[in-house]
Symmetry: C2
Subunit: 134 residues, 2 copies
DNA sequence: ATTGCCTCCGTACCATGGTACGGACCCCAT
DNA sequence: ATGGGGTCCGTACCATGGTACGGAGGCAAT
């Protein structure tokens, strides 16, 4: 356990401190009990390597297109035995991902056509709108 | 020229009427001059096939990851002769698209691993978080 | 013990891309 | 000429995912 402060955790996950606090409010990261220090409000929260893993998972799942709400469910599921539900979520997202990848690939082709048409000489504007028409 | 109403244009582009009006406010679609009818406020706007093309372009460019602001620039560029700028935009977006496609492909693999681990028997939870750790 | 950085907390604000609302007005068919 | 549906317009609101702010207090080094 690395005994990190919130700032160190944020750095480890490549996010800002405010983002950590936001995730805590959303229930995605635990709000660790603060050691009841001498001060009235208590001391400073400490985080461990489990929190770093969890934070990194959140970021990865986001790039996979899960919403924070879905990610919350995944995190709950991770500790539960509901394999069926987890598989459903994964499979649904794989389908969405395949569709999205196809879309992006198509868009890439359109852009390549555009860059091409723009590059090959000739005066006048290159037909940007047309480059995207199927 | 198809002489469409705003509602027909919206249907042709697969968006809502409010979206059309929003794009007009953003300057992405022209606000056609309304024939000065007898009423004080003027008549109803009419749209043609060029508007449909333009609208469809906007949607395609969005799936390519352009923001509406960038799309606005593309639309201006389409009529101008600034080939260099158009190429820059296209090339930058191609790079971003390639990166994004790679990311999504990786995420897809992680999800496939997850679904797999979840499917192959064994009691207890499937390790969702671990499935995403590189 | 003073300086300087960090943390804590609530609340407010932001950008993006829409979506909804309500009242007036218009057009077309019956 | 009356009704119903479409249009027009400004303005308000929404969801998502943060980001900023300000003031109070903590922590460690000098």
């Amino acid at each position: 356990m690395a005994d990190l402060t919130i700032g160190a955790l944020a750095r480890a996950g490549g996010v800002g401190v405010e983002t950590i606090r936001y995730y805590q409010r959303r229930g995605l990261l635990p709000e660790p009990a603060r050691p009841a220090g001498p001060g009235l409000g208590g001391g400073v929260r400490r985080y461990g390597s489990g929190d770093v893993r969890r934070l990194r998972f959140i970021r990865s799942a986001q790039t996979a297109g899960f919403t924070l709400e879905e990610i919350g469910e995944l995190l709950t599921l991770d500790a539960s035995n509901e394999r069926a539900r987890a598989q459903d979520l994964a499979r649904a997202r794989i389908l969405a991902l395949d569709a999205r990848i196809a879309e992006l690939t198509e868009a890439r082709e359109a852009l390549a056509r555009l860059a091409d048409a723009c590059a090959s000489g000739g005066a006048g504007p290159c037909p940007i709108i047309s480059a995207f028409q199927p």
